[in-house]
Amino acid sequence: MDKYNYRRRKITDQIMRNLTAVATGCAVIPLIAIIGYVLTIGAGAMSWSFFTDVYQPPSNAVVSEITGEEPAYDPNDPFAGIADAPSEDPNAPVDPADNVYNAAPRGGVLHGILGTLMIAGIGLLLALPIGIFAGIYLSEYRDERYATIVRFCCDVLSGSPSIVAGVTIYVLVVLQTKQFSAFAGSIALAILMIPIVTRTTEEMLKLVPETMREAARGLGAPTWYSTFTVVLPAALPGIVTGVMLAFARGAGETAPLILTVLGSNIISTDIFKPMAALPLLTYRYTESPYPGENTQAWGAAFVLMMLVLIMNILVRVATRRTGGNSR
């Protein structure tokens, strides 16, 4: 009766379908868990001042609560105020609210938001021309032997740990200039972004049908002209995705920034000086002994995620084109 193994085929198909569905679920769970965790815990740090204020030492909170005075803000002395905390009777029971460790988180991460935008933005500006032109070369002017070497280097570079880029720039730039700087961080991030931009540009250009190039060639257009007027615009949505991936990668990197940007507690616009960045804040606040700052670490991570998301949406809206059915 079961001449064509109908039942077996059907069961095998069912098993395979369920296996792939389970695997897909497993792949999505960490993503949802991370977003959910960052959202729920990071929400505790959210307040208006979190986006508009810079770093505030937690100790000042105690001082001002007890003395009723506005603390003297001194960015160079985060421990300002601790020694001033009055205590008439050392043996008196301490009100838990006066305990610096229980103080509600104060201050914000505006300096980190601006720093990340500047460092990753300048890194992207450095990486874009190199990456896109390299991608065009690989796709449009193929010289196969040279292209194979470049492609291999790109893949190795995009697979290598980011700290390698950090150490390299530390030695080549920071030690030479004897100065931690945001610009050194941008260079390190650009190194990480270039292979992503190059490879996406190449792959997206290769997806553009050959008939488009032929049409332009048949009209007597040189390769560079058809590339910039026909091929590149057709591949733009894909390339934008790659560029946003590169930006997200750069904005989220911590290790290279530790060795190059160092970090800062204030808003700095001098790119040749140390600067704050959201991943650096997240890293430092996680290590902090103050529970309030631990919460702010989640908050900073949340802001970083939102920053990348908003950038993504903005760029997509800006590059979206209307009409046309070839896409």
């Binding site: 332009a216 007597g220 009409g323 059915n325």
Partner: protein, 287 residues
């Protein structure tokens, strides 16, 4: 279009051609625009076309017919060196345009393609507005004057019988948003905008429905007054309808390369072929 419609109603090739000769107005005999002499084409070690010797007169439509894989597209594309970007592609023999070999080392293929335009099998408009599609070749030539561009675009669209259908949405509609037949006429307008001397057409109707095909055929028929046209088709009726000269190609079964069986005036080739293989093919006995 009416003319072409009547021609399709089940009549033999002989009548078809005779009727066409009466309605069409052939210009006076002109010189040979393209001459091929022992022309062959290779892709690496594979020989696609072997030893073709024929002429294509100016201001005439030359059709290349033959079954799939006989090298007719390769031959067509070799006229404006579309294969230049393909690694391992090389030509042998002579292919002369106005008497000079296009495969001479000093011939610039970009400049050659400005003289020899091309329309492809599948309509391939750029993802630009209708206006910019037609203006593309003009911009390539460095024409920036807006008035000149607008004039040339209108003129080309009129010649391609597309103007009335698109004149209200030249800038607002994408070339890719048109119907298949309109897209192909747009591609023809794009090609004729730069005033090439020769237009190559690689099965321009194979992706279109019969009505759209007839419009294109009418267009081809009209365009030969200004251009030399070479068209590849595997539709014999189409070749009989639009062409003045027909070349029949066939794959050599032993050597596996395409070769020219015979070429000559279309009416003669379809009514009194000299080669048995041509006769078999046009009478539908194979291929």
């Amino acid at each position: 279009m009416e003319r072409a419609m009547t021609l399709t109603r089940g009549i033999g090739f002989g009548e078809l051609v005779a009727q066409r000769a009466k309605t069409g107005q052939l210009a006076v005999a002109t010189e040979n625009k393209i001459e091929m002499q022992k022309f062959g084409f290779h892709y690496g070690s594979f020989k696609a076309v072997h030893d073709v010797t024929m002429v294509m007169p100016s201001n005439r439509v030359t059709a290349i017919i033959g079954p799939s894989g006989c090298g007719k597209s390769t031959l067509l594309r070799s006229i404006n060196r579309m294969h230049d970007a393909t690694t391992g592609a090389r030509a042998e023999g002579q292919l002369r345009l106005d008497g000079s070999n296009v495969y001479d080392a000093d011939v610039d293929s970009v400049l050659l393609r400005r003289r020899v335009g091309m329309v492809f099998q599948r309509p391939n408009p750029f993802q630009l507005s209708i206006f910019e599609n037609v203006a593309y070749g003009l911009r390539v030539l460095g024409i920036r004057n807006r008035k000149t561009l607008a004039e040339r675009v209108e003129q080309s669209l009129r010649r391609a019988a597309l103007w009335d259908e698109v004149k209200d949405r030249l800038h607002s509609s994408y070339g890719t948003a048109l119907s298949g037949g309109q897209q192909q006429r747009l591609c023809i307008a794009r090609t004729i905008a730069t005033n090439p001397e020769v237009i190559l057409m690689d099965e321009p109707c194979s992706a279109l429905d019969p009505i759209a095909s007839l419009k294109i055929e009418d267009l081809i028929y009209d365009l030969r007054e200004q251009f030399t046209i070479v068209i590849v088709t595997h539709n014999m009726q189409q070749a009989a309808r639009v062409s003045d000269i027909t070349a029949f190609m066939l794959m050599n079964r032993e050597k596996h390369y395409g070769e020219l069986v015979e070429s000559g005036p279309t009416d003669k080739l379809f009514t009194a072929p000299t080669d048995k293989r041509t006769e078999d093919y046009i009478s539908g006995q194979f291929g």
